[in-house]
Symmetry: C2
Subunit: 335 residues, 2 copies
DNA sequence: TCATCAGAGTGGAACGTTCCAATTCGACCG
DNA sequence: CGGTCGAATTGGAACGTTCCACTCTGATGA
């Protein structure tokens, strides 16, 4: 009694054309007369035909599916980025396969193997901390088109923010406000992001004839707040934070220590996550527009898939300084 | 010069068995002798065989793929939930196809059609605002196994928090602290979540012989802060907020108006997003463990797929009150 | 000695597309 | 009037699995 699925074959019979004609018509191929296409389309609608991608996938070898490996989707920055990727891929007619590696290199590896079997047309990867350097070559050996996002391999397609330029902007802003004792908070890991952000800060300090100062801590609100609470009036007057999470932690620590961000200590974040604007006091930060990075990443990967012989693209997106209240610029101007 | 893919056929030849034997061996089927399985496994490893799911999918009609429709992935609550779903599905051997509907019913519809074509074995859906009531029957007509998450249809498989119990907990806590003028902030939309949360609050108030008071506003930090800033000393002494976002907005508005949450006005949120603990002051809220809901949702859907004849499961998860500082309980205890 | 049986392995037809070569049919050209 | 051409359509072989029915082999029991 269960009604069976309608296939192209059935549509063809209903429309009175050959199977391959119907298939062509449903793909709206220009080789066919508009009239024929219409007739087939109508027959398909009448029967309630549903395209079966799994068969197409098998025959054509293309799945119109992209694997997305997110290092930590519960981090708002990466969530936003994921939304950008998904949106751009959808617009290009691709479906996103999601895997949250939760910063586990082992899980990342497992998911890559699954994606390879699936098979996906390509993968977008935000390498988990602890990713072996060999992964890049391995993917190449697999012939699996891929691009990195935010965190990068040495070579290959990539989309991410210009970290160096970001912390340079932040540091120069604080210098312009008259600060001299500016410390860099957070970013202990050895990866492309950490080194980039540190360098931008350190070079700006050096150019101003000042010595950079590193307050290391893990990228974690709790840890950052502990480090910040320990800071006294003798400490730095301004903090360039590794990212917004660290800045939030720092702000909380400072308040616990009885000092108000923006009044007693200047604070600049990095990322401009949605919460930054709604924090109290609103956080001055570096906007890198994760949504835009996500879209760029999708573009870069699709280029790689469409034109595998071409040089891999690297899109380094320029950041912008967003001045709010945590850096104290407002108060200074008012005074 | 390009090396071609290795198929089961090649593995079979290498192992000196028939194609179907090799296929059985690779699935580790107990019909085969352990010895045979080993030989085939080794041959596969030697050749670098990669399983091709797209062919399996087509022949068997099962894709081991689930479509996940998230209403707004940039919302940390849903991001966390997504992580839970993905983790549980992965453990069960399923891959997650992600679509962020961004609260657009039209986009949601389009993505459902894609998922149907893909084809996925089932969909997990957090209905976007404005989802027509007919969607539920339509999915049934499509014969597409589905379950709702957080927001629910009237019937069908579902996993989500017990909203009524949550706001009841919040309200009773505030009553116990001695508050009498307690208002409910936010939740203007007409959906299962809004009505549930309102009812839990309103009934608790009624039981205490008090009249409930609704301060409507959209679920948006900005709007909530405007409403809260307008509140004066003559207004309510405590706010039960629709969710943590609204509570954050309210906290910000209160501070702008010169009043400190937890000292001048008691504030309780709903959801316990990661930021709640790190807010200043830390937010008292209702924990619903989005990660757990996500896992439950995956379970409920897989049950539906495995056993379509059985009654759809509905998992309503009990919330917990998390007391931090924004409700003023600490101060009160200290005094 | 022969039927029966279970265990182990085999052969080949599906699954629903896409792809390519082939065919049909006028129109046009010399 | 035969030949060539392009546009429109067709036929049928792939694609790499799974699934089912079948064969083969040796052991068992009457």
């Amino acid at each position: 009694m269960k009604m069976q699925r309608i296939r192209i074959k059935d549509v063809a019979r209903e429309a009175g054309v050959a199977l391959s004609t119907a298939a062509l018509a449903l793909r709206d191929d220009s080789k066919l007369r508009e009239e024929t296409r219409r007739v087939v389309r109508e027959a398909a609608a009448r029967l309630g035909y549903v395209y079966d991608r799994s068969a197409a996938m098998m025959r054509s070898g293309r799945s119109h599916t992209i694997g997305l490996l997110v290092c930590e989707i519960t981090n708002p920055f990466y969530a936003e980025l994921t939304a950008g990727v998904e949106e751009a891929l959808d617009q290009a007619g691709y479906v996103t396969m999601l895997a949250n590696t939760a910063e586990s290199a082992e899980r990342q590896r497992r998911m890559l193997e699954r994606f390879r079997e699936q098979p996906v047309d390509g993968v977008l990867i935000m390498p988990a901390t602890g990713t072996p350097a060999s992964l890049s070559e391995e993917l190449r050996a697999w012939q699996l088109p891929h691009a990195t996002v935010v965190r990068s391999f040495r070579r290959g397609a990539h989309a991410g923010p210009d970290n160096r330029a970001g912390t340079r902007l932040a540091t120069e802003h604080l210098l312009a406000l008259g600060h001299r004792r500016i410390a860099f908070l957070g970013g202990a890991a050895k990866n492309s992001v950490s080194t980039g952000r540190w360098e931008g800060y350190a070079r700006a300090m050096a150019r101003a004839g000042l010595t950079p100062e590193h307050l290391p801590c893990r990228t974690d609100i709790g840890e950052a707040s502990v480090v910040a609470e320990a800071l006294t009036a003798k400490g730095p007057t301004a903090l360039v934070c590794f990212n917004d999470s660290v800045a939030f932690g720092a702000g909380m620590g400072l308040q616990r220590g009885g000092r108000m961000p923006g009044r007693d200590v200047a604070l600049v974040g990095f990322d401009d996550v949605r919460e930054a604007a709604h924090w109290y006091p609103p956080l001055t930060t570096i906007r890198v527009a994760p949504h835009v990075i996500g879209q760029a990443a999708a573009r870069v990967l699709l280029h790689r898939i469409t034109d595998p012989a071409a040089e891999p693209l690297r899109e380094i997106l320029p950041p912008a300084l967003v001045i709010r209240e945590s850096c104290g610029a407002q108060q200074r101007r008012a005074a």
